[in-house]
């Protein structure tokens, strides 16, 4: 299954990059959501996939009975999901504020702090 996930991740990343390069900052945000999903899948797949055996220990046992899913990437992905959400929420509010202040959501037109461009 890991090679299949690798192809899927490639698709997600390509879509995300394409969206992030769009004029609209909203599409950039959509790209951001897709790329964080892709990153989480990369971490998850890199740790190896074990179907149907969550990393839990029976009551009274000192260690998992049989082979269970890799707990380490799960912990990492959990953290990544939360941080990704924080980043996204902040960026969304930033877009919201930009719309209110500048009247545009197109990143090309957000140039107040930039030097004047040649030929414009």
């Amino acid at each position: 299954m890991e090679p299949v996930l690798a192809v899927l991740v490639g698709l997600l990343v390509a879509a995300a990059v394409y969206l992030m390069l769009a004029r609209s900052f909203l599409l950039y945000l959509f790209g951001l959501i897709l790329v964080s999903n892709a990153a989480n899948l990369v971490i998850f797949a890199a740790g190896g996939l074990t179907p149907g055996a969550p990393p839990l220990i029976e009551t009274g046992a000192l260690a998992p009975a049989g082979p269970v899913a890799n707990a380490l990437p799960q912990a990492l992905v959990l953290t990544a999901i939360v941080i990704g959400f924080g980043l996204f929420a902040f960026a969304l509010v930033l877009a919201f504020r930009a719309m209110t202040e500048l009247g545009t959501i197109e990143s090309d037109e957000m140039r107040i702090a930039e030097p004047p461009e040649a030929g414009r």
Binding site: L12, L19, A22, L26, A46, T50, S107
Partner: protein, 757 residues
């Protein structure tokens, strides 16, 4: 206490003599070591600095470093004494003395260092302190430009030198000079030798102002005169010469060394003597004669013939003595009359008798008349030139040209202003009169020393002989004598005086012709330098405009392109492409999840509808959550579903206020972006395939699995990792979310306030 001529008439305090004490004391210590070193002893001292890198603060006093060190401290003491008077009452007098002392100590460290890195550090310190000294008069644009030019040229050479030193250290297996030079021909046989040679010579030639790097030295005359006398004649510019002499046993003896030094030295010597003739400013003329001397010194370090090396070391001493004296004389003349223009100065001898005497003695030494030390130096240069077996006549011709021009320039610069009919007031309102003693004692002492050493060449040999022995291990210095009988060098000497005299007589038409030729020549190094700097600025501005145009999309494009490039290069050169994976037979459930994620992604990219896009994002999120559930990560799946729901809600709320511009969003409306995106997607897939080819390293997981219950009393291993083993990381994560929430709150308040206002 004597009163200063001209500007200041207040008495000097004892404090003015304080800075002189340090170089004088150092000079006394070093001079006391001369007999011991002349007998062949080498004095050492070392401190560990960065032992792991083989960098030590190690110092060594042998014949060569002692020759330089005595010149640096001896002339330094006289210069400090002179400066106390010259800059008396100057508002930044103390700063000047600080810079000058710092420079002297750096220079001393440079010539005494026995470790390549230590030497380099002192080398750069002399560059920095000389920058401060040249730019001392920082109120004028000319000084600032000259200082920066000197800094950039010599520091660029310094960087090359550092690279050369590192290569040398790696090739030789040690950064200690005494280790590297112990086996004289080992470095020259190393395959890196050509690179080392080029880099080291770049450093030495920029520092010692060899053509084509010479242009900064005449500009450096913007510095106060004592600085010119010290840095730009006697010491700093000799740093490059010292380096060539020091490394001669290690890097010399090859054809490449011989030709590089011969060509650079001869070109510089002849070019500089011609340039010296056309200058009307005394300081400028002397600056060019310094260039000539540096060229001559480089020329004679090219070979490993004993006579040539003796000529180099002798000429080094001769030149330091007379050139420092003459610069100081020019400073006195400037102080006394207010001008340095040759055409306006004459007959000063009556008003400034002591200065005139010092000038005359120095000028005769410079011109190479007997019985001065300069005569011995010049005879030796002819002998050295004739001893160069492969090219004796061309070198002798170059030296003859340069020496003859020196005779003429000595006459113009040092004799002419003191001779003839006295101008009562060269500059209106300034009646010239003799300088106070702290100013004339320096040039007089140096001039007299040049005379005494000429009459008693045995004394000079105590300095020169050990120096030659250090450059040529096992080599015998050629005996210094005034009279060698009638031989070729003597005949060449007489020819020099004749030609020099003729040039002196014809100096006006010759100078005019040289000025015309210079104006017609397209080769202007100084202006070329400006153009080079302007070119850099234009290039940097152009590059910035392209790479950082101030548009988010451009930055992202460059970031993604770089990422793609790095991934592609790594895949192509380091790892190779992954083998095509065997795709397993997928169950319908797995296929359904994959179709869900892929379909959702396609919807987000292609749709025109805002609601459809948000729905597509939700579908992708839920698909990923299902993957987590299927592969044993229920906690992750729950979090993912929760967060995904929140994201959709937030976006939906925001959409009420945000326009949705899909004008250019659809596939293939931006084919280049699509190609870039596809490239990164493929590279990511390839990288991940390579990662999953090998089974994952589970050592850390194994630890958590067996430690979870006994150490943390928890049965959910993922939870135990998050809240127990890595609790601090989780706290950091919570802090990130908190900061994001606070930031969002502040931004939203602004919106609300604006809506109300």
């Amino acid at each position: 206490m004597a009163a200063s001529a001209g500007r200041q008439r207040t008495a000097l305090t004892a404090g003015a003599f304080l800075p002189t004490l340090l170089p004088a004391a150092l000079f006394a210590v070093l001079a006391a070591a001369i007999p011991e070193v002349a007998a062949g002893a080498v004095l050492r001292g070392a401190l560990d600095w960065v032992p792991s890198l083989g960098i030590r603060l190690s110092f060594r006093i042998d014949g060569l470093s002692l020759t330089f060190a005595t010149l640096i401290t001896g002339i330094g003491a006289l210069i400090m004494l002179y400066s106390g008077q010259y800059l008396h009452g100057h508002p930044h007098y103390r700063r000047f003395m600080l810079f000058l002392t710092a420079f002297m100590l750096s220079m001393l460290g440079l010539v005494l260092a026995d470790n390549l890195i230590t030497l380099f550090v002192f080398w750069e310190l002399t560059t920095l302190t000389s920058y401060l000294l040249i730019g001392f008069d920082h109120g004028t644009a000319k000084s600032r430009r000259s200082a920066l030019q000197a800094l950039l040229v010599t520091a660029t050479g310094g960087l090359a030198l550092l690279a050369g030193f590192i290569l040398m250290g790696l090739a030789g297996g040690s950064f200690e000079l005494s280790d590297l030079l112990a086996d004289p021909r080992a470095l020259a046989a190393h395959p890196w030798y050509p690179a080392i040679l080029v880099l080291v010579l770049l450093g030495a030639f920029t520092k010692s102002a060899q053509v084509p790097f010479h242009f900064w030295l005449p500009n450096a005359m913007a510095a106060p005169t004592p600085v010119s006398a010290y840095l730009h004649s006697a010491t700093m510019v000799k740093g490059g010469v010292y380096l060539l002499a020091r490394l001669h046993p290690g890097l010399g003896g090859t054809d490449a060394w011989f030709w590089a030094l011969t060509l650079a030295g001869a070109t510089t010597a002849v070019f500089a003597s011609l340039m010296a003739l056309r200058q009307s400013d005394l300081k400028q003329a002397l600056a060019y004669t310094t260039l000539m001397a540096l060229g001559t010194l480089t020329l004679f370090l090219a070979s490993d013939v004993a006579v040539a090396v003796t000529a180099a070391v002798t000429f080094l001493v001769v030149h330091s003595l007379y050139k420092a004296a003459l610069f100081l004389v020019v400073g006195i003349v400037d102080h006394a009359t207010g001008t340095r223009d040759v055409a306006r100065l004459s007959g000063l001898g009556r008003a400034l008798p002591v200065t005139a005497a010092a000038a005359a003695l120095s000028a005769l030494s410079m011109a190479g008349f007997p019985p001065f030390l300069g005569f011995i130096g010049k005879e030796l240069t002819y002998k050295g030139a004739l001893a160069l077996s492969s090219v004796p006549y061309s070198v002798a011709a170059a030296v003859l040209t340069a020496n003859a021009l020196m005779v003429a320039v000595a006459g113009i610069v040092a004799l002419r202003p003191f001779w003839g009919r006295a101008e009562p007031e060269p500059e209106p309102g300034r009646v010239p009169h003799e300088a106070p003693w702290p100013m004339w004692v320096g040039p007089l002492a140096l001039a007299v020393l040049g005379t005494v050493l000429g009459l008693r060449p045995g004394l000079a040999e105590a300095l020169v002989g050990p120096g030659v022995a250090a450059v040529l291990p096992g080599g015998e210095a050629y005996e210094l004598k005034l009279w060698h009988g009638v031989n070729v060098p003597l005949i060449l000497s007489i020819a020099t005086f004749a030609i020099g005299g003729a040039i002196y007589a014809l100096r006006r038409p010759l100078a005019a012709a040289l000025v015309r030729a210079g104006a017609a020549s397209p080769l202007d190094f100084d202006r070329g330098w400006d153009r080079l700097l302007d070119g850099f600025k234009v290039f940097a501005a152009g590059l910035t405009r392209i790479v950082q145009p101030g548009r988010l999309r451009a930055y992202l494009r460059f970031t993604f392109l770089t990422l793609l490039g790095v991934l592609a290069v790594t895949l192509a050169l380091r790892t190779g492409l992954p083998a095509p994976p065997d795709l397993p037979a997928l169950s319908w459930r797995e296929l359904a999840v994959l179709a869900l994620i892929a379909g959702g992604t396609g919807l987000v990219v292609t749709t025109d509808s805002r609601v459809a896009a948000v729905a597509g994002l939700g579908v992708v999120g839920i698909g990923v959550a299902i993957v987590f559930i299927v592969y044993g990560a229920p906690d992750v799946a729950i979090t993912q579903l929760l967060v995904e729901t929140l994201v959709v809600v937030l976006v939906a709320v925001a959409l009420l206020r945000l326009p949705f511009l899909y004008r250019d969003g659809r596939v293939l409306h931006r084919p280049w972006d699509a190609a870039l995106a596809a490239g990164i997607g493929l590279a990511t897939t390839a990288a991940l395939l390579l990662v999953v080819e090998a089974p994952p390293d589970r050592r850390v997981t194994d630890f958590y699995e067996v430690a979870a219950v006994p150490e943390a009393y928890g049965r959910n291993i993922v939870n135990v990792i998050l809240v127990d083993f890595r609790a601090l990381d989780t706290l950091g994560e919570i802090a990130v979310v908190l900061v994001a929430a606070l930031g969002a709150l502040v931004l939203l308040r602004g919106v609300a306030g604006r809506a109300r206002g």
